[in-house]
């Protein structure tokens, strides 16, 4: 039983859940993900492993409510169980031998960026964190990043928290000020990762991005999560989710990412209506 132990809203649309999953907690590493189904009729969706506690046997997920599945998930409460929870999937982020890394997180992507940043810091690597959000309301994990990073830049589109501007501005400023990074790790909206990749390419800094395409089984069976990397088809679930940012075809990934948006929006509306009409028991 994948019972929810804790549920904490991080901002109006982003929720953190701590879930009983002892077998997964034993093996999870930063950069990996799980796939869940909320109930027996539900879709399978991939979510990042934001944290894990091997002793307590729990895995932490952080998700943004965007579609029917995340809406239904967000209606579960502490003590409820998630029907299916499988992982840890994908390859862990490779951090060996890195001395100084800039970790760039955008929006809910910070849920992936943080465990990677933490692991880097724990391995003795110097971590500079650059996190960006649309506004102050949407800021998540800022304190957590601050605790492990030697330099921290909080950016918002409107300047309501931290500095006004994009993460790429902050990253460029750090690089121009003479900071030398072994690697930049970036995760967030595709457009953000695309511009981080373009920036670091011009400086010749190795950059890794964590991709989060549409996925069904997550084990290399369906091929739905394919991306063009270096002109070749790669599967995010078994070859990734981390890829060399300078090889990823972002235009292609962006085109694919909105493939089911009309379906998702319709399903989300219907899920919301169900809850509004009280057709589903709200515990």
């Amino acid at each position: 039983m994948f019972t929810i132990r804790e549920k904490i809203p991080l901002n109006p649309t982003v929720t953190k859940m701590v879930v009983d999953a002892p077998r997964i907690a034993r093996k999870a590493e930063p950069g990996q993900f799980i796939i869940l189904r909320v109930d027996d009729e539900g879709e399978r969706i991939p979510l990042t492993i934001a944290d894990y506690d091997r002793e307590a046997g729990t895995v932490t997920i952080i998700f943004q409510v965007v579609g029917a599945t995340t809406e239904k998930l967000n209606h579960l409460q502490v003590g409820d169980a998630i029907a299916d929870f499988v992982g840890p999937l994908g390859r862990a982020t490779e951090i060996e031998g890195l001395r100084k890394v800039a970790v760039v997180g955008g929006g809910v992507g910070c849920a992936i960026a943080f465990p990677v940043a933490k692991k880097l810091a724990q391995s003795g690597c110097e971590v500079h964190a650059i996190v960006g959000f649309r506004n102050k309301e949407l800021v998540i994990l800022a304190e957590d990043f601050k605790a492990i990073a030697t330099r921290m830049k909080l950016m918002t589109d409107d300047g309501s928290a931290g500095e006004k501007g994009l993460v790429t501005h902050a990253l460029q400023a750090l690089i121009d000020s003479g900071e030398q990074y072994d690697m930049v790790f970036a995760v967030g909206p595709l457009v953000m990762m695309k511009f981080v990749a373009a920036l670091t390419k011009s400086y010749g800094i190795k950059t890794v991005v964590s991709m989060n395409p549409v996925m069904i089984d997550g084990t290399g069976m369906c091929g739905g999560c394919r991306l063009l990397v270096g002109g070749k088809i790669k599967f995010a679930c078994v070859d990734g989710p981390d890829f060399d940012a300078h090889e990823v075809d972002f235009a292609d990934a962006m085109a694919r990412s909105d493939m089911y948006r009309p379906f998702e929006q319709r399903e989300h509306r219907e899920a919301c209506n169900l809850f509004k009409e009280g057709n589903i028991d709200e515990k």
């Binding site: 499988v86 999937l89 069976m221």
Partner: protein, 470 residues
């Protein structure tokens, strides 16, 4: 009294026009009268070529004699003694290239409808005799089976009958492997698969779903830490192949695995399903195997007005079963033979707009024995499409290979295993089915699972006797 008809008792089918709009099972099955009539066509030959033609050596003449006598449950028990999934095999086995191919009645006229009879017997049992199977006497040993497709289920069934405590690890949320995510409802109803799985559960087999071996637990941990005496790997065919032509990441391009998984496992064929799928109005399926036929027939049922199979060789070389090809044609699927795609053409907003193809000619036979196709220069032409489904095979999944030290694999990635026993390069680790052979048939995988079960029994018995001597 023998039935001397040169042809099989006809199988009742749903009307092609009506059935192409539903996912109801196409072949509706024999009645008891039809089954007894067909059973009387069997000559009960002494040398029993059909038994040797069956990968799991079902005692065919014996079970058919029981059917002829109207003893259907007895017939079921005869089949079950060597085949743990009769309702599945009666539907999806390529009998025409196995038991029925060598049937003496087939020398003049049609062979006995062995597959149809097997299906009848299994269905009759499911409808009339659902008492739980006998619980075997436990022998105190544990075996882990990885993958709950046909190889894993067959292996688990035989081991459970021999008294082993078997745990089947399945990566997806439901057991059955390709029987649930791949083969569509109209060819193999999922209730049938569920009944076969429940049958194994009643024999004590434990199904651990949501368990990706190689990720959440390794083969070595199963053997060293979790107390399993042996492991059977039946993880199936693996990652879908693409053609490496431009446009394969356009929206509306699917692998057959993804398309079929959305339709079957995630039930996109049902109204109000929460899983999205592009149904398309003009659909092309690239490939000529059973999987291609399944995808094309699903696309038709989802409402596409024009569905065509694109195959680079000619009709004679189609790897799909003749029956599947026939059914697809009846349902209105078009076939473009000697045709190969060269690129998928974008339409609006990153969706598929069409596909450029070339005509092919057949040259000399290649390594596979089939005549190799060559491009006819300058024959490019374009077809308008909105969905393209690639059904051109798979390449092995690397998860277990990458996490099991010392497990030898072929150059193409398949696990090296002895054909007679499934023994791999690692003692105590056995493998079979598509993970070893590459994409093949349900019954071939079941045969491999059964042979491995026998070898595992022998391995564990020997290990125990060595330990007790030491």
């Amino acid at each position: 009294m023998k039935n001397n008809s040169p042809v099989k008792t006809p199988m009742p089918h749903l009307d092609p026009v009506l059935r192409a709009q539903t996912f109801d099972e196409v072949a509706t099955g024999y009645t008891p009268e039809m089954a007894m009539e067909e059973a009387r066509r069997c000559l009960n030959c002494r040398h029993q070529p059909c038994v040797a033609g069956c990968p799991v050596n079902v005692h065919i003449p014996e079970f058919i004699a029981a059917v002829a006598a109207g003893e259907f449950e007895k017939a079921y028990q005869i089949i079950l003694s060597t085949n743990s999934l009769p309702a599945v095999c009666g539907r999806v086995c390529p009998q025409e290239s196995q038991c029925e191919r060598v049937c003496v009645r087939g020398l003049k006229g049609e062979p006995v409808g062995i597959g149809r009879l097997e299906r009848f017997v299994a269905d009759y049992h499911l409808q009339h005799h659902r008492q739980p199977p006998k619980m075997p006497v436990p022998n105190g040993h544990r075996v882990a089976v990885i993958g709950s497709g046909p190889a894993g289920l067959a292996c688990a069934g035989d081991l459970a009958r021999a008294g082993y405590a078997v745990t089947v690890f399945e990566a997806l949320h439901v057991a059955g492997g390709v029987l649930v995510y791949g083969i569509p409802e109209f060819r193999l109803p999922k209730d049938i698969v569920r009944a076969e799985v429940e049958n194994l559960q009643q024999m004590g087999v434990v199904f651990a779903v949501n368990m990706v071996v190689g990720k959440v637990v390794s083969v070595d941990e199963l053997l060293d830490e979790e107390g399993f005496d042996a492991v059977f790997i039946g993880t199936g065919a693996g990652l879908p192949r693409f053609m490496d032509i431009p446009g394969e990441t356009l929206k509306g391009v699917y692998s057959a695995n993804e398309f079929l998984t959305r339709v079957n496992l995630m039930k996109a064929y049902k109204k109000n399903a929460s899983t999205p799928i592009f149904k398309g109005s003009r659909v092309a399926v690239v490939g000529g195997g059973n999987v291609a036929m399944d995808a094309a027939r699903c696309a038709k049922r989802l409402g596409a007005s024009h569905v065509q199979i694109i195959y680079r060789r000619s009709e004679a070389e189609l790897p799909a079963r003749a029956e599947e090809v026939e059914h697809a044609k009846e349902e209105g699927v078009a076939f473009s033979f000697l045709t190969n795609p060269t690129r998928i053409i974008p339409g609006e907003a990153g969706f598929v707009g069409g596909m450029e193809c070339v005509e092919m000619t057949l040259g000399e036979p290649d390594a596979s024995g089939r005549r190799s196709p060559h491009v006819r220069e300058g024959s490019e032409y374009t077809i308008p499409l909105d969905v393209v489904i690639m059904a051109i095979g798979t390449s092995p999944n690397p998860l277990i290979k990458n996490t099991t030290a010392g497990l030898a694999v072929e150059r193409w990635g398949g696990i090296v295993a002895e054909e007679s026993s499934g023994a791999t390069s690692r003692p105590g680790v056995f493998a079979g089915g598509d993970a070893v052979t590459g994409a093949a048939t349900v019954i071939a995988a079941m045969g491999a699972g059964k042979r491995a079960a026998a070898a595992i029994d022998q391995y564990v018995t020997q290990k125990i006797s060595l330990q007790s001597k030491a």
